[in-house]
């Protein structure tokens, strides 16, 4: 059984968005995912990390924690910040909702995480920070095939 994890700590700099994507791709590669699965994970982690940079820390410097866990073919990703938090979670997760239209935000971050991952949970404490926990089953289709074959 594959079991592994990583914990990554990086400052909230926009240069680190691509770093976060590379780290998660490399970590997930241990499950031999499809190109599409890798692409889904990259976009999901990119959205969560960008949100921490722009919204949580309001473009000031803070720390972002990225945790990834592999268990069999299930990958869990956590993106944690100690930033300003979210007052109204339901509203924040609505498509097209953004508090920063002046920065040309599309308001599609959470919607994208939800469509490209199997599960997205958000915990947030105003003034304390936010944790986005996302789960994706890797090789869902491959598994079915080998059962049938």
């Amino acid at each position: 059984m594959v079991q592994n994890f990583l914990k990554l700590e990086i400052p909230s700099k926009s240069e680190n968005e691509s770093l976060a994507r590379i780290v998660i791709s490399a970590f997930a590669a241990q499950l031999d995912p499809t190109i599409e699965e890798i692409s889904d994970l990259k976009i999901a982690v990119s959205e969560a990390v960008t949100n921490a940079i722009i919204h949580a820390y309001d473009s000031e410097e803070g720390i972002i924690y990225i945790h990834a866990f592999l268990e069999e073919n299930k990958l869990t990703l956590e993106v944690i910040d100690h930033g300003m938090g979210i007052e109204d979670l339901e509203q924040a997760r609505q498509p097209l909702f953004t508090t920063k239209p002046e920065l040309e935000r599309s308001g599609m971050g959470f919607t994208i995480m939800e469509s490209f991952m199997d599960k997205v949970e958000v915990e947030s404490f105003p003034g304390q920070g936010t944790t986005v926990r996302m789960v994706k089953e890797i090789n869902k289709n491959k598994k079915v095939q080998s059962k049938e074959g």
């Binding site: 926009s14 240069e15 968005e17 691509s18 994507r21 599409e36 692409s39 990259k42 976009i43 990119s46 959205e47 960008t50 940079i53 722009i54 920065l103 040309e104 935000r105 599309s106 308001g107 599609m108 971050g109 919607t111 994208i112 469509s115």
Partner: protein, 111 residues
């Protein structure tokens, strides 16, 4: 990200190469704004053929250009989209307002 600019009549062709995220979005925005400030180009043809990654920050910056350009009566179209980017594009609803063509020539004929 690399940006290639080309002016064909009143149409600015912008070819993006690499990854369009929040970090690279500002560079894209500035390059395009600078060109449109010259008031030669009217329309924007965005070639995404060599874009290997795009997220919602990319959607936001494209939408931002769409707003500025259509305000002045110009048009924005997108070409050469890869499957991964296309998924994002249809999910976001951007496809309803920004036409998508297979190739630049096709886009230019329709502007």
């Amino acid at each position: 990200m690399e940006i290639e600019l080309k002016l064909v009549r009143k149409n600015l062709i912008v070819r993006l190469k690499g990854e369009l995220d929040h970090h690279t979005a500002s560079c894209f925005r500035e390059e395009v704004e600078r060109e449109f400030e010259k008031e030669i180009a009217q329309n924007l043809v965005l070639n995404l053929g060599e874009l290997t990654f795009m997220d919602s920050s990319g959607l936001g910056v494209i939408l931002g250009r769409y707003r500025r350009i259509t305000e002045k009566g110009g048009k924005v179209v997108v070409t050469n989209m890869q499957p991964q980017v296309e998924r994002l594009y249809s999910l976001s609803g951007l496809q309803k307002i920004i036409p998508h063509y297979r190739r630049e020539e096709e886009a230019l004929r329709n502007l």
